[in-house]
Symmetry: C2
Subunit: 219 residues, 2 copies
């Protein structure tokens, strides 16, 4: 998606020496960027710590100054991507016309929210697969982290559903809202995976099915 | 669910000695039964080959006469459960009133199909979690097997959707039917997992959400 580096050495005023903290932050961001590049370039393939160090142009021991292991880097990488996606999704969903939604009418803003989700999955297939796979593992820091992401995304959706229901003065339990959020999250992911696995190609058709499904279910 | 043993030693006519093949089949079924018992008793915990042998009352080397390893037994166990579930689901879905479905009306047969799916997941949580988890792995015989199960369940659903569309003279691409099948499968699983993870309790409320979602999306 976008560059995870907010500060680059070249952008720092010449003549002003970098502090130790600044240098460290830059190296860390370079490692995350290198990992993202490798993740996206490698098809579904993962990467090793030494590949990331090489790609970032740092010595391998430097990798371990910043990250405990490859999973630790994957966590940081997921965080950098998911934080941005959550903000984009929040903006896209805030633009959804609740009246149109309530009436079951087409709404480009709803499509845009799904487009953002699916595009994020398809742009970073390796990260997406890691997220889906690791979440189901019973115990590892990365698994807990992935479940944390799922919890956050679900909570965002539950909050939106509560707003929709309040707007419509509709009585719905939080349990049911949680189910709907789980369902919407699950079929969005399923169609992203289905596309990656080659079962259907047309991205706009996928978005259409997702939006129609959601609209009619919530109308 | 039901007993996987179709032939038990006690049911064989007395006096007629068991053939070598019969004895082998019985031992194999005993091992599968023992594994199912351990799987269901152990919460989310898996089991080892020697635990299964002990539970089945056979020597550990006997285990390896029948199964290559624990994953191989899990495959056989999944098969024994999924074949039965597919038949039950096919019967339940054949009973769905297509007119009612088309009109978006409540249909107890549709609820019953979802009840069967969710109940199967909740009755065998360990098997269900293995199925979800292994499917996402890139390569192992068990992973391929689990993806094969997912393919078969999807194909059943696509066939049913084709029947529904023909009944309604509705034009829908097979790509879209595949998406709908993926979506329905995904949110059914998601709500099963959500229940197992303790996010919502009421099974009938879950079935209600699943049926409503599907009905309004397909109507």
């Amino acid at each position: 998606m976008t560059d995870v580096t907010n500060a680059r050495i070249g952008e720092v005023m010449p003549g002003k020496p970098l502090s130790r903290e600044e240098t460290k932050a830059i190296t860390r961001r370079r490692l995350i960027e290198a990992a993202l590049k490798l993740a996206d370039a490698g098809g579904g393939r993962s990467f090793t710590a030494s590949e990331v160090a090489r790609e970032a142009g740092v010595a391998q021991p430097t990798f371990y100054v910043h990250f405990r292991d490859r999973d630790d880097l994957l966590k940081a990488l997921g965080e950098s991507q998911i934080d941005e996606l959550r903000q984009e999704l929040a903006r896209a969903r805030a633009a959804i016309d609740l009246e149109a939604m309530a009436g079951g009418h087409p709404d480009e803003a709803l499509r845009e929210a799904f487009r953002l989700s699916v595009t994020a999955m398809l742009e970073h297939p390796m990260l997406f697969r890691v997220y889906v796979r690791e979440r189901t593992h019973s115990d590892s820091p990365l698994a807990r982290h992935c479940r944390g992401i799922a919890d956050a995304l679900r909570e965002d959706l539950v909050t939106d559903l509560r707003t929709l229901d309040e707007h419509l003065s509709r009585d719905r339990s939080d349990a049911e809202r949680t189910m709907l959020a789980d369902a919407i999250g699950a079929f969005t992911e399923a169609l992203g995976l289905g596309h990656l696995d080659g079962r259907y190609d047309d991205l706009e058709e996928i978005i259409d099915v997702l939006a129609r499904f959601t609209r009619s279910a919530l109308a």
